[in-house]
Amino acid sequence: MLRLLEIEYLKLRYSRSAKILVLTYFILITFIALIASIEFNLGEINFRVADQGIFNFPYIWHFNSYIAALLKLFLAIVIVSMMSNEYSNRTLKQNLIDGLSKKEFIASKFLTVTVFSLISTLFLFIVSMILGLSFSDFNEAAIIFSDMEYMIAYFVKLTGFFAFCMFLGILIKRSAFALGFLFIWWILESIVYGVLKWKVFRDSEIADNIARFFPLESMSNLIKEPFSRLSAVQTAATQLGSEFEKDYGIHWDQLLIVILWTAIFVFLSYSLLKKRDL
């Protein structure tokens, strides 16, 4: 296993574009901290975002995992191109001739995907911890380490998304087209959902229940938007007379769906590669 990771590491280490993208990704995650410094001075009202409770434990786990997940596209580019470049440089063929099996090839790529997700999760954990310890109103260990399931969900979400990218890279063999296809897939999911929701199953929950099994939808469902959960927003809403009844939690069945998709994408990548003549 270590050998497979080393192989992938050697391939990525010398690629300048991969290095720049990975670096950009991690720098952008740290930029979440910059939100803290956003201040509005509207005459009498002095509004500082950091004071609105977004960095309070345990809410920060939710908020940061949601924001950081938006940046995953940067790593997605690296992953799609690390798959499709093997085709365009014909190095996949040479790797196999040199004695790597097709199974090992997929394993090395998926291991890399998992390691990327793991590092990103750890990194996010550290950034959130530092931000939380600096700005949170509560600093008791029990509160700090509650809601850790957001970190697990973040890891599963990233792994699932990157496994999808890996599969697209192998399927389409060209990085630009694979990314384009990812975008088209996203639109397709929305269209199918829209048709189900507004035409087929009007005024019922069935459309939502089907859509939550779509790959991208299931990933985005893992961590729901955190903004309406903010106490400031909640208070405002209550004053305006509307109540939020929303479940922000992480659900094991949602995790299971994403894990299942991950397995499907890895399996499809392997069977596709096995079937192809290079």
Binding site: K11, I97, D98, L278
Partner: protein
């Protein structure tokens, strides 16, 4: 002698097209083999199948003793197919280090192998800055990293300038002299003739000949003859037991021999039958003529 690779009825079909048709042959240790065939005859597909990149349709192949996974066996093989394929953004040495990792061999042979192909001074240049000849030589160095039991080269001189071709052939000769088994696929006859001891000739995916290169050279040659009465000449030649085939082209009769025969013998024979020749030459076919003859005839003919 130890068998390194054996093929049995190996077949590859692309839809209706049969690229490789029931091909069988064996590679023994210590020889230099050539797979000879025109472009599109199935050489690369055959190599692709035994190298794990093309899926076979039917048949069998076995590496070494045959009780090893193909990808494990390939770690003991050195092979280059068509283009040299490396990571363009990595240097020669970095690319070779990666190959070492894949083949599970230590990295200490990189410099030694770069020296063999004359690229040691360019080891820290990026692969994309290399000329085609240098890329091909780097590919050979890479194939040698594990001191392979067999070196497989597919059209190694394709697209190179004469100097590049010469360099590659010198390298191959050097490696062959060291006792490494080599399998060389080529559509160039003189390449196979110059480098190989054994040859497998294929056309349209079918095997036409396999055996030592000398043996195809050792045909008995042919006569070119001319006489006033061409009709009688042909009849007499066909009647002679030592003559295999007779054909006429541009008023010259060609008679291919079944057994060794002197020009004098045929001259005496014809004279006794009352025919005097105006022209008689005995020729030995070049490998090229035989190759063309082999590849142009249908296997059933």
């Amino acid at each position: 002698m130890e068998t390194i690779l054996s093929l049995k009825d190996l077949t590859k079909k692309y839809g209706a097209l049969t690229a490789v048709d029931n091909l069988s042959f064996a590679i023994k240790k210590g020889n230099v083999y050539g797979i000879l065939g025109p472009n599109g005859s199935g050489k690369s597909t055959t190599l692709g199948m035994v190298l794990n990149v093309v899926n076979k349709t039917s048949g069998e192949f076995a590496w070494f003793s045959g009780n090893m996974d193909t990808h494990e066996a390939l770690k003991k093989v050195g092979a280059i197919i068509e283009h040299p394929n490396f990571y363009p953004y990595m240097t020669a040495a970095q690319n070779l280090a990666l190959v070492c990792k894949i083949k599970d061999v230590p990295k200490d042979k990189i410099d030694e192998k770069l020296e063999i192909v004359g690229l040691l001074d360019r080891k820290d240049s990026k692969f994309r800055t290399f000329s085609l000849g240098m890329k091909q030589r780097l590919a050979i160095a890479s194939a040698l990293l594990n001191d392979p039991k067999i070196l497989i080269l597919d059209e190694p001189t394709n697209g190179l300038d004469p100097q590049g071709i010469h360099q590659i052939r010198e390298i191959i000769r050097k490696i062959a002299a060291g006792g490494t088994t080599i399998l060389l696929a080529s559509h160039l006859l003189d390449e196979v003739e110059k480098v190989c001891s054994h040859v497998v000739i294929i056309r349209n995916g079918k095997k036409l000949y396999s055996g030592p290169v000398d043996a195809i050279n050792a045909s008995h040659g042919f006569f070119e003859l001319q006489a006033k009465n061409m009709q009688l000449l042909q009849e007499l030649l066909i009647a002679h037991p030592g003559i295999d085939k007779v054909s006429e082209k541009e008023s010259i009769v060609t008679a291919i021999l079944k057994e060794p025969m002197d020009a004098e013998t045929i001259n005496e024979y014809l004279f006794e039958k009352g025919l005097s020749l105006s022209y008689l030459v005995k020729r030995k076919e070049s490998l090229e003529e035989q190759f063309l003859q082999l590849t142009n005839q249908t296997p059933t003919a």
